[in-house]
Every structure is written in structure tokens, then in C-alpha cells.
Amino acid sequence: MRPVYVLGVGAHPWGKWPDTPQVGLAIHAMKAALTEANLEWRDLQGLVAASSRFEGGMGWGLHANELAQAVSEHGMACVNVGGACAAGAVAFHTAQMMVASGQYDTVATLGAERMPKGFIPRPPGAADDPTDHDFLRWKTIGATNPAYWAMEARRRMYEVGTTEETFAAASVLMRRHGAHNPYARFRTPSSVDEVMASPMVSDPLRLLEICAVSDGAASVILGSEAQARRSGGPLIQVAGSAIATGQFGDPATRIPMVGSTPRPGVAHTSEVVGAVQKAWKAASIGPEDVDLLELADNTAWHVLAWPEMLGFFESGESDRRLAAGDLQVGGRLPINPSGGFLSFGEATTAQALLQICELFWQLRGQAGGRQVENARIAMSAVLGLGANGGSVVLKR
């Protein structure tokens, strides 16, 4: 496979930006990435956009085209991909394939989203379809996304004895990292007491243990080796990336399923496990080679469960690792030095790309107070609705 490099990344700070249109957030992030990559708009041969269901895209999910028509109609190839929270990873992987094929030398990826307030609802215009789990979960049960994660957290308490204080401590760690990230929405360190005092949303998960909905944007530009050398700076290579879907019999209580058929021996959240294993294989590495991990911490439960699920730790080991400081910047496996979703919140289609921005900043030594020293291999893992998993491994 033709080697693919990250030429530049950019982001718009996460937060609530009611006065900035989505396209404005997108342009901001892309301009930053173009500047980093030393490129002009018209140098882009392709643009892969993660497609929001909530806003923009000319009403048809055409967010890449919308951006081209806003800033530079030079005819570049535009691809718009769905994938909910994993859409950014799907966009990245698609762009990597386009460059790896040899047909493209420069392809940008983009995610920009302003989220509706409160619990993430059905997308506007979704049909009332009795074969659709998403319809059924709302209509017959009213189960919000946090309810699904809460059932996972409750089961973890039952199986391995995780305490409510440990969930709180995982949330505190994210905010401690996020305090050093200028793109994060929540940059004030928290405490276990503060988290424990926050309102219970869906037992056992409290408000400060669940990612908020945010507005934000991120862009990652990929290219050939020649382009990477032209852009300047240390070369950051895509060691491997992959996307995957779920395995039959996966025991996860997966959003938005109202019924499942768990089978013995099948990996939990197998779409993410599958993507990570394929990305490792493509990169010819294993968990022992990873210097830092950006994972999708939709809740504090994810911070503990995912490192075990991905094979970094034994089942139930994360609680002890967290207490020992192994998961913090400076520890053995820094988790989410960016601060994670608990610090920046969910801007669904943008967040998997923000993870990749962080991998780039870490490998370039640009991460300031949250820098993982001498990071050489950095990886991300993300999950999206519909059983979409994605994982990206970058190396310096």
C-alpha cells in the first residue's frame, strides 16, 4: 500500500456556538489545517466530510459539497459519509484509501456539527418504522443514550466490583487532562466530591460522568509522501487505520437496540475491537507499542471498560490502573490526553477527527501541558451508532 501521511490538522474550539453557522465552524477548522499543511483551498484534490443529520449539507447530507460551494469551486472530488459518532473515522479511513490508491495526492477530511440541546434525539424526519430499533427504543421504552451506558456501568459494578467513586475518578482524570487543552469546552479541573455531588442522570451515572452535547469542528488533511515533505515538519505517517461493524452475538447493550442475541465468546463492542485489531495489523503493531490512546469516553464507564475490551488490560484491571496513575499523562498508558469527550463534549460527526488532531499534536510535540513525552505511536478508537467502529494509528 502506498504510504499516507498527515499533512496538517485543525479544529474549532468545542463549546456552544449558536451564532456561528456550521459552515463557519467548518471553514475555521479547515483553514487551520490548510495553514498547518501549507496548502491553499485549490490544492485539495478531494474532501471527505462526515455528514451531520442535524444541520447543513443543503438538507441532503452534502456537507463536503456545501463547503466547496462556500469557499472554493475548483472541482475537487467530494465524498459525504454517514456513521454518527464514528463518521469522522469513516471519513479518515476513506480519505486514506483515496490517497493510498495513488489517484489522489491531497485529501482533506472534515467534521463540523452543532448539536441539538439535551439528549440526542432521533434525526429530523426519521420515519416511524416498527422494524427500526431506534424508533422502538423511543416509542416503547423512552431509553436515552445514557440509559444504555448506565446499564453497562451497572453490570460492570456487578461483575468486577467497580464503585461509584471509581467512575467519578475516571471523570476527574479526563477533566485534569482537558484543563491543558485550548480546544476543550470544560477546562476546569474537577474533584471526586464534585462529580459525586452532580445530579444522577441514569443510575449509576451522574451528570459529570456523561459527555455533554457540544458544537465543534475538526479537519485532518492527508497526502502522499511528496506532499508531506512539501508541507514541512516531522513526517507523521498513517501507520494503519480501519473501520469495522459488529459481530453476530456481540453482548454489548448497543444503542439503539431493543433486542439482541448475545453469544458466548464474542467480543463486547466487537465493532471497535475489530477495527482496532485490523488497524494494529495494518500498522504491524500491538497494544504494547502504543504510547497514548484516544478513546471515545461517552461516559466514565468507557474510560474503564474500553482499555480492557481492547486488550490493554485484563477484565476488571482498569480500576486499579486508574488508581495507580497509569492512565494519566506521564503514566504507562495515557488515556485521552486531549481530555476526551468528557472535557470537550459530543459534536458527533466531528469528534473522531478531533481525536486524530490530538494524535497529530502529540506526535509533533505540540500538546503543551498535556504532552506525552516522546510519543512515537498514537492511536484512536471510536464507536458510532449502527455498530460502526473506527481506529487510527499514527506514527512519527
Binding site: 439528549f119 416498527p130 422494524t131 446499564m151 442522570v201 447493550t253 431493543v258 433486542g259
Partner: protein, 143 residues
């Protein structure tokens, strides 16, 4: 709160008859996998035939996990008057795990609790009162 005279909020997955409430699912005749809600085809990649037939799920099960949802969900679900309620995942016979409202005192909830299928009235706004499937503690069941 049960009623067999009211309409299910989604007809296609819940049926009431003299024997009580049934969840409507599917079974694959080739690999014996049970599905809820009903499916068009079998998801099993190792199953070649994928012959799907309707299947009524048994009502007795074991609580796998649960939560108490303390904030009102978006509009499609209407519970009036609003109060916090429990949601859980329940393992039924045939290897299928089903989500539903758990109607039980919160302090009785624990993984492993024996439950059985029932129904509850929820308020569905313009269309009047309707019922949805719920699970309740099963006094006779194995915990």
C-alpha cells in the same frame, strides 16, 4: 395499571390475548436464533438458509442489568404524569435479551432478579392511553 383493552403503542411487537402479553419476534428455522423485534432475514453470517418465521417470546426472564432514568426523554416517548422509571435488559428463553421498562421498587433491582413480561399504560398524547411492554418481578421465578 394493566389493561388488555388498550392498544399497544407499537402493534407490531406486542400482542395481548387471553394468555396475557406476548412479545412478537422471529426465529430462524435454519440456525434456531431468536430475534426481537421481528426481522426480515437472519443476521448469522454462518447461516446459509436464513428462513425466518414468526415467534412469540416467552414471558419469563432474568434481569441482566438496569438503570433508573431520571430525566425526561425526547418527545416521542410520552409518560404522563412524569416520574423517574427503571429500564433494564432481560434475558429470555431462547437466548434473546430484550430491553424494557422494569416496574419494580428501585431498591429491589439487581442483576439476576427473576422477572416476567407484563404491560403498563403510558400516555401517548393525541392518540389517548396506550400500553407498552414492561417487566415485573416474578414471585414464582428463580432469582
Amino acid at each position: 395499571m394493566d389493561s388488555t383493552t388498550l392498544r399497544p403503542v407499537v402493534d407490531e411487537i406486542l400482542k395481548l390475548d387471553q394468555a396475557g402479553a406476548h412479545l412478537l419476534g422471529s426465529a430462524c428455522q435454519d440456525c434456531d436464533t431468536v430475534y426481537f423485534p421481528p426481522v426480515l432475514s437472519c443476521r448469522n453470517p454462518d447461516c446459509a438458509g436464513k428462513t425466518i418465521v414468526p415467534f412469540h417470546l416467552e414471558g419469563a426472564g432474568v434481569l441482566f442489568s438496569f438503570t433508573v432514568q431520571r430525566y425526561r426523554p425526547p418527545a416521542l416517548f410520552a409518560l404522563e404524569p412524569w416520574e423517574a422509571y427503571a429500564i433494564g435488559s432481560v434475558d429470555l428463553a431462547g437466548g434473546v435479551r430484550v430491553l424494557g421498562i422494569i416496574r419494580a421498587p428501585f431498591d429491589q433491582l439487581s442483576p439476576g432478579l427473576a422477572v416476567r413480561l407484563s404491560t403498563s399504560v403510558i400516555n401517548d398524547g393525541d392518540e389517548g392511553a396506550v400500553i407498552t411492554h414492561v417487566f415485573v418481578p416474578d414471585e414464582d421465578g428463580q432469582g
